[in-house]
Amino acid sequence: MAIRERLSGNEAVSYAIKQINPDVMPAFPITPSTEIPQYVSTYIANGECDTEFIPVESEHSSMSATIGASAAGARALTATSSCGMALMWEELYVAASNRLPIVLALVNRALSGPININCDHSDSMGARDSGWIQIYAENNQEAYDNFVQAYRIAEHKDVHLPVMICQDGFITSHAVENIELLEDDVVKNFVGEYEPENYLLNEKETMAVGPYAVSNYYMESRKAQSAAMDNAKQVILDIGKEYGELSGRTYGFFEEYKLDDADYAIVIIGSAAGTTKDAVDKMRAEGKKVGLLKIRVFRPFPEKEIAEALKNVKGVAILDRTDSLNSHGGPLGSEVTAALFNAKCTMEVRNYIYGLGGRDFRVEDAENVFTEMEQLVTEGKEVEQYKYIGLRG
């Protein structure tokens, strides 16, 4: 039986960590993810889990220590946000290329500058090419569910890649909401014991991790990483289905909300998807055929599946919570547009930037986007290819 609770997103992820009881957690505090190591430390102090917590002097060190622990054979994790992730940038790539099944609890926050502590996706989106699997949550429930699934994906023999479990800073991390938790033994059985085949502390087998690869090996190594990312697709679907059988909540690459017969769709990531659902319901009640595609898995990028889901739509608005500052849009915009192009879709596509640095995204904002897309398609209204929502001026 599920446990009915009310927790913030940070509490939910910490609870999942306690239930999984990983071996090692090096961490350094940064708003808004600080509570995660704080709560886990409290669980450890209270004897509720026996994870080895390592207080380190920076995020460069927290990811380094996590890599070391994982290479040694431990189930390891850390948590961070924003500039903390920026400081572990180098190690993110090392973790992925060493094929270590690390999990990172990322609480999305804007990167400086201007310095800002609130939510946007510039931190994780900047790391989109680091070779990490990226899974995003709409609310505390999904943050919890995604975390419980993370090690199963990361440690799968066809994958062996690190996983980033992302949630929106403050909006979900600090908001208390209803949640359904699984019992401890259910989580324990689902996640299972970690039994790495090869690890540094295995006294029966010597090995070295992270060697220099000259040009004659580097490209082949990268191709192998790319293949593992490709393999991750099926594994993510399988684990999401198995989790659904356990919890009643099945997960895929994305959620389609009233998209079947929709003429206009919003593609979005994170907490704003919930807000958009309210807009969809409101406009459906007014007879508007609108729908939502909420991206859960951004890495690997489910290109064909997204295009298939959107192929009958007349207008697609792709909403990015970060700007690539490349003069033509955000990362989700670029990739979804490319997916549609490759699938030979010819509907109208626009890329909107919203919610930077914690700017609120309201039901009205989503309604305005749908209305604008409809005017673009039916009245030929001119809409810039790439524009900001809620911008003054």
């Binding site: 290329s97 270590l100 090869n198 090995m207 991790v209 690869a213 082949e220």
Partner: protein, 100 residues
């Protein structure tokens, strides 16, 4: 079981590399004969050597074997001929000759 990296060469396809390029089996650098790079070669004169052992720790390639407190002749499979040992030897017991 992990792949034996001695089977991996610069001609191996990507599918045959070890995962994450992990190297299985220890001390594999022994199999890499850096001595092939050598253009100058140290010559050891055992008569002049006092076994002060100043040379062994400065060798960047661990090519001066020390056993029971005494150094032996050079490990020319790995010596790159840098000449540091010859520089530090106070007794002219090491000289550098041109070529292998």
């Amino acid at each position: 079981m992990a792949t034996d990296i001695s089977k991996i060469t610069e001609k191996s396809p990507w599918q045959e590399l070890t995962e994450g390029n992990k190297v299985y089996g220890g001390a594999t650098s022994v199999h890499f004969h850096t001595g092939e790079w050598r253009t100058n070669t140290p010559v050891f004169d055992a008569d002049k050597c006092t076994q002060c052992l100043l040379c062994a720790p400065v060798c960047p390639d661990s090519s001066i074997p020390v056993e029971n407190g005494e150094r032996g002749d050079f490990d020319l499979d790995h010596c790159k001929g840098c000449g540091i040992c010859a520089k530090v030897c106070p007794f002219d017991a090491i000289t550098m000759k041109e070529g292998k």
